[in-house]
Amino acid sequence: MELTVNKGLAWLKTINEKIQEKKDYLTDLDQAIGDGDHGINMARGFQEVEKKVEANDYADVSDLLKDAAMTLMSKVGGASGPLFGTAFLKLSMSLKEKDPVDYPSFSTAVGAAAEGIKQRGKAGQGEKTMVDVWVPMAEYLQNAQEFKPDELETKAKSAMEATKEISAKRGRAAYLGDRSIGHLDPGSVSSYYIFAALAETLQERK
């Protein structure tokens, strides 16, 4: 694996594509156990990310992801804005002066991002939040020795799907308690799109 500025750009664009396409679906998920704005928030945020990063030149991946982070932070709002903002900021910080990014740096960076989300949101694993995708993905990447796009996608998907069976303890769905069981966590679904987009981008360009 080699993540360059160009591939990073492609990744962000692919995330945006997926999010725009799934905007209503994400909002539906959030209507069921939250307040019905997650798709709208993410679509607004990643649209702005794409606009922002297309208008600029970046020396390295870290710089690119920093702009993405700052844009998410200032355009998404809600719970997911600061959390995804933090995730990308941690990726950026962890990847500083690592260009092009190789596999070990990247998996370390995802670990930092997962840790960042956990700290910001004061959430642990199993509480039906995006943590339930980011933490297992960080672990998977750490354990795997190389970048396997298909496996990565499958892992992200099953982590996302596992949120359906559990009861929410953090975020808005927590008000529902056990009534949240049976519904996917919206933030985990969008986190899945982020990893799926990564797999897709790096696969295509291999």
């Binding site: 909002t27 209507q31 156990i33 939250g34 307040d35 019905g36 704005d37 798709g39 709208i40 928030n41 607004r44 932070m73 200032s74 355009k75 998404v76 709002g77 809600g78 719970a79 997911s80 804005g81 600061p82 959390l83 910001r120 949101g121 303890k169 953090r170 975020g171 808005r172 927590a174 008000y175 529902l176 308690g177 009534r179």
Partner: protein, 331 residues
């Protein structure tokens, strides 16, 4: 979706324009932001009060800006907490040297965004304190969850901290009285219908023609129980009992009461509910010092209401009665 709007994605910007145009004698819009501030802000040596949150709760929060109440309100997208950069703009705009106090409703998003803004402001040398309002007794209060939501009781926090700050209190004193209000205010709501987020284009949830949701949140978050619609008297009893179960009243204690409409419920129905609320409080020997019946913290065009009780002492009574020139809370 039937709404008087232009672009569903521009409702917050359009609303802010219309607010600023309506009340230039009281408020102004900070250009290029979603922040509305008191016309005279920043006020030298006065603690600046900032509140805010997602839009769709009007008159919260900008309606509570004015002498004796808030200095700034930050408007997020509909039902979405505003971002830290916007909160930071508000903090900077109202800092008159005595520090800035943030009134945050207890939602993950609000807490995260406001706290990040506070960190940024402190990095710029502004002293910031905060209170987190969590008056909604519909939600189990547990350290294993995100805890209770902030709902209509927040308006009493605005009023009382606003009066305190206006009197020249220090940041620490403002924080103390804010915490006193939070410790003594409890609310619970119910809904008959759902509101529609403009950009979503469809109602947040569906209730059957004979159903109501007890313990609903102000973003349409589900409540405690969905059941057959009861009479106004039954609803009053259910809300009041749940609220009182979490408060400590002794015979003759005084309280302020707020019967809050969630958007589509006519005032007539709020008064009908209030009749029973007052009766129940009288039965329990709680003296009602002052009653507020109106739309204070709405949820778009949701039909429903909430009831809030604030237990009062002499300090809180004095601050509640202090003058306020906020457009939506004139005293």
């Amino acid at each position: 979706m039937k709404k008087i709007i232009n672009d569903p994605n521009q409702v917050v910007q359009d609303m802010i324009k219309g607010m600023a145009a309506a009340f230039p004698e009281c408020i102004k819009h900070l250009p290029e932001t979603t922040v509305i501030v008191r016309k005279e802000a920043p006020i030298h040596h006065k603690v600046g009060l900032v509140s805010g949150g997602g839009s769709g709760h009007e008159p919260a929060h900008a309606g509570y800006i004015g002498e004796g109440m808030l200095d700034a309100a930050v408007a997020g997208e509909v039902f979405t907490s505003p971002t830290p950069d916007q909160v930071l703009e508000a903090i900077k705009a109202v800092d008159g040297g005595a520090g800035v106090f943030l009134i945050i409703k207890n939602y993950t998003g609000d807490v995260l965004n406001f706290e990040m803004a506070a960190e940024l402001a402190e990095a710029e040398g502004i002293q910031v304190e905060k209170v987190i309002v969590n008056d909604d007794v519909a939600v189990e209060d547990s350290s294993f969850t995100s805890g209770r939501r902030g709902i209509a009781g927040t308006v009493f926090v605005h009023k009382i901290t606003g009066a305190k700050a206006e009197k020249g209190a220090s940041l620490e004193e403002v924080k103390q009285v804010a915490e006193k209000v939070v410790a003594n205010v409890r609310s619970m709501g119910m809904a008959l219908t759902s509101g529609t987020v403009p950009a979503a284009g469809k109602p947040g949830f569906q209730l059957a023609e004979n159903e109501m949701e007890i313990g609903i949140g102000i973003h349409g978050e589900p409540g405690i129980e969905r059941k057959d619609i009861g009479s106004a008297d039954e609803i009053a009893e259910e809300l009041i009992n749940k609220v009182l179960a979490d408060m400590n009243f002794s015979d003759g204690d005084e309280a302020a009461v707020m019967v809050n409409g969630l958007g589509a419920t006519p005032e007539m129905e709020l008064f009908i509910l209030n009749a029973k609320v007052q009766e129940l409080l009288a039965e329990k020997n709680i003296n009602v010092y002052k009653t507020f019946v109106d739309e204070y913290m709405t949820s778009l065009e949701m039909a429903g209401c909430s009831v809030t009780l604030l237990k009062l002492d002499d300090e809180l009574k004095e601050l509640l009665d202090a003058p306020s020139k906020a457009v939506s809370f004139k005293i």
